[in-house]
């Protein structure tokens, strides 16, 4: 495998022009998402690093694609701001470009939305080696086709992302998390559904089935003087007599561990499965039968599974449930599993942007 680490955008353009097949990579914190592309020349974007523009009172920043999220987070934090879509694997070395290309958002996307809701602009090197821009750098923009959104979850299929602009928000002054325990999934799910409908402005809402117990975690954020009263209100909505409250560093660590997938054992496949609260019970029946480690994140709009058994089995099960999944870590042979979502529109988009398949194509497992 031949790998290049271009130092400049011009070098990326030269490499793309010089090779028939090219495959982009970021920080490789999500190795499962690197699409197989026979004989492709690998471009690592890590050297394209740095925040190019950040004006806190604009709520926006622009950075090169290889900039580590850790660096961005630290920089925003100095000004009391953060990335509200809560991209995962920050400490594992995830980059801004990888966060966009993977389309992954963390538990914190429950409050304000995912990567698609915060991306403003993109620059990428296309299959002809041209530097192409889409969107802009201001918080509101409706000019031209929305290429930035298309790049969220693109998995490197359309080009090499080199620069991205995002909207940011003020970081809440303080957080607290309430954890409720339940004997059965049904009770926990009922409370999750109740909270989903409340005007509570939760920053995260997660359901975690474990051995003999089901946990529900709700995260509140805001001004410190409001938290106690809001937590009390939250408690009153939950039908659990096992309630724990977490604050301060322990609370922050809990969610940091969540976004690093500290709960997923080494060597297991880590799979993202989009779903809705109504589908939780039927999926969980299968996952429980396989003793899979799992959590239902974003108000049960997203299931994360650490799967030890044969991934082909999960693929068939998901297909049966008409759910699809994406293998973020582990070798599954195919990044996308379960029920195929490809359609004619997607085919035409790929054909327009990369007619000779210089970049890889994401296909579903057979």
């Amino acid at each position: 495998m031949i790998v290049a680490a271009p130092q400049t955008i011009q070098e990326v353009q030269e490499v793309v022009r010089a090779h028939e097949r090219v495959s982009p990579r970021g920080g490789e914190s999500k190795p499962g998402l690197i699409l197989h592309h026979e004989g492709a020349f690998q471009i690592k974007t890590n050297a394209l690093r740095g925040i190019l523009q950040y004006q806190p009172d604009e709520f926006t920043f622009t950075a090169l694609a290889g900039t580590p999220l850790l660096e961005i987070e630290a920089h925003l934090g100095q000004h009391g701001q953060y990335l509200p879509f809560d991209p995962p694997l920050v400490e594992a070395g995830a980059t801004l470009g990888g966060a966009a290309a993977s389309g992954l958002s963390g538990a914190g996307r429950y409050r304000f939305g995912g990567g698609r809701d915060f991306i403003l602009g993109v620059r990428y090197v296309d299959s002809e080696g041209r530097l192409v821009s889409g969107g802009g750098k201001v918080v509101k923009n409706a000019a031209g086709f929305d290429l930035p959104k298309l790049m969220i979850g693109c998995l490197g299929q359309y080009g090499v992302l080199v620069e991205l602009s995002f909207k940011v928000f003020p970081l809440p002054q303080a957080f607290c998390t309430l954890q409720a325990e339940y004997a059965a999934l049904g009770q926990a799910l009922a409370d999750l559904n109740t909270l989903n409908l409340q005007p509570l402005e939760l920053f995260a809402l997660e359901l975690i089935p474990a051995v003999g117990v089901v946990l529900l975690r709700a995260r509140l954020g805001g001004r410190v003087e409001t938290l106690a009263a809001r937590a009390k209100r939250l408690r009153n909505l939950l039908h659990s007599d096992q309630l724990t409250s977490l604050e301060g560093e322990a609370e922050a660590r809990l969610w940091r561990d969540e976004r690093e997938f500290a709960w997923a054992p080494e060597g297991y496949c880590l799979v993202k499965i989009p779903l809705t609260p109504r589908r939780v019970s039927e999926l969980d029946e299968i996952l429980a039968a396989h003793q899979a480690h799992r959590r239902y994140s974003v108000g049960a709009n997203l299931c994360w599974v650490a799967w030890q058994a044969d991934i082909a089995d999960l693929h068939l099960r998901l297909k049966g449930l008409k759910l699809s999944g994406m293998v973020v870590r582990g070798d599954a042979g195919s990044v996308l599993i379960g029920a195929a979502e490809q359609n004619e529109f997607a085919r035409r988009v790929k054909q327009a942007l990369d007619p000779y398949c210089k970049f890889p194509v994401a296909t579903y497992a057979a």
Partner: protein
């Protein structure tokens, strides 16, 4: 192109009352809210089912006759301007709210559903649909999707695209595709995101699955009057820098205030040179706490009058004035152009100064209304179309304002889209390579350019 063959086929598909060809019937469809552009289509069809739309698109494709899908025609960029050689597909009767699913916080609606009707249908469950363009009592979801409509609450809640989970779309050749799903999350590229805001060039959205949000528990709306517009602008920067995240931050200048007062009597201070409206929303206790901070900022901002909405009726009156500002300007001038540029928020005061300079230099009156939290300017350029050359002069000023927005690092449209009006400005914002990529997408999805031909790209 074979219009006679298409017409014969359409006569099979539609009863006479839903296939319009008489000049008097077609006149209503000649333009949208940007009335300075007009064209009479060959026919208008009024489908009542999704299948009728699909069949119509397939027929247009077969006979190579271009079509323009149209909702309520509230576009301010000429988005639904017909083609003299084409037909209009009027989508208003596709207005079924198919499903409200409170448990999953979503609504499935047809494209002709009125924006505000989504929130009305969701209200019994304590939910609402957040995007609120000023035309929301009449504009349709289909139009909102095509142009990624905004509104007053975009800084915190985003635009239309941020609230669309899934779409059922008929592509320009009649193929029907499903994009997205019911979950907030997806695997693979954001195709819904690409479709929304494509200005009708990728086909027609038939049905949309929209994200609903729990209605905020509390609102606090404050109105501050200033003797200078710049003071209102400077206060916006202070609010944003404080770490507050208001639901809306709006500014109106004196001319816009006069218009709104004449039209709806919103109770604004008539002598204010700049009027700032700030609204906080959310959990009651958080709103109360944040509001105390907001009041401190406004108290120190040099406002000569401050009013707080005491109840929901007063809050709605404040918003009625703001949301009716565009049409209200009709009371000050026989004609006007609404512009829709965006500048970085920190350049708001500079941009306003330049707009005022342009007004003084040209002698053309300009009223200013803007979504200040987003840096989204809406200068209303007043003119009398009966005077020779007046519209051309107004358009020239509008063009200067757009160039200014690009110069400041902003955009030529925040929420109205490019349409026909701003086609020639697109190359000022994007390079030839950027435009070529967009055109390649367009060509691949609609090789015949049959769907909303002539919009977005310079001819």
């Amino acid at each position: 192109m074979d219009f006679p063959a298409l017409y014969s086929a359409l006569m099979e598909l539609y009863p006479a009352e839903r296939l319009l060809t008489k000049p008097a019937q077609l006149a209503a469809y000649e333009s949208d809210a940007l009335t300075s552009y007009r064209a009479r289509p060959k026919a208008v069809v009024i489908p009542e089912t999704q299948d009728e739309v699909i069949q119509t698109v397939r027929l247009c494709h077969r006979y190579r006759v271009p079509f323009v899908a149209r909702g309520s025609g509230t576009s301010l960029s000429g988005a639904s301007l017909p083609l003299p050689e084409g037909i209009v597909i009027a989508m208003n009767r596709l207005n079924r709210v198919i499903r409200i699913d409170p448990e999953q916080r979503l609504a499935v609606v047809e494209a002709g559903v009125i924006n505000l009707d989504v929130s009305r249908a969701a209200a019994p469950y304590g939910l609402y649909y957040a995007p609120d363009p000023s035309s929301q009592p009449i504009c349709t979801i289909g139009g909102n999707l095509a142009f990624n409509s905004g509104g007053a609450h975009c800084l915190k809640y985003g635009m239309t695209s941020n609230h669309v989970l899934a779409l059922k779309v008929v592509l320009p050749d009649g193929e029907v595709v499903q994009l997205g799903g019911e979950s907030l999350e997806t695997c693979g590229p954001d195709l819904v995101g690409l479709f929304v805001g494509s200005e009708g060039l990728f086909g027609i959205a038939l049905e949309a699955t929209l994200r609903l949000l729990p209605k905020p528990e509390a609102f606090k709306t404050i109105l501050a009057a200033y003797d200078a517009l710049e003071k209102a602008g400077a206060t916006v920067s202070k609010i944003v820098a404080s770490g507050l995240l208001p639901g809306a931050i709006e500014i109106m200048d004196n001319l816009a205030i006069q218009a709104a007062e004449a039209a709806v009597n919103a109770g604004y201070p008539r002598d204010a040179q700049g009027l700032l409206i700030v609204e906080l929303d959310g959990e009651a206790i958080s709103v109360e706490t944040d509001f105390a901070f907001l009041q401190e900022i406004i108290a120190a901002s040099g406002a000569y009058e401050v009013r707080i909405a005491q109840d929901e009726a007063e809050r709605l009156r404040i918003w009625k004035g703001r949301k009716s500002a565009f049409s209200a300007v009709g009371r000050l001038s026989p004609d006007y152009l609404v512009q829709d540029g965006v500048v970085p928020r920190s350049r708001l005061s500079d941009a306003l100064g330049q707009v005022q300079r342009l007004s003084q230099e040209t002698g053309i009156r300009i009223a200013n209304v803007f979504h200040a939290g987003d840096g989204n300017l809406h200068p209303l350029i007043l003119f009398d179309g009966r005077q020779a050359g007046a519209i051309e002069r107004a358009e020239e000023v509008a063009g200067e304002i757009l160039k200014l927005c690009i110069e400041y690092g902003g955009s030529i449209t925040g929420e109205h889209g490019i349409g026909v009006e701003k086609r020639h400005f697109l190359p000022l914002m994007f390079s030839p390579a950027d435009l070529e990529v967009m055109c390649a997408l367009h060509r691949q999805i609609d090789p015949e350019q049959i769907s909303n031909r002539g919009k977005m790209f310079p001819s």
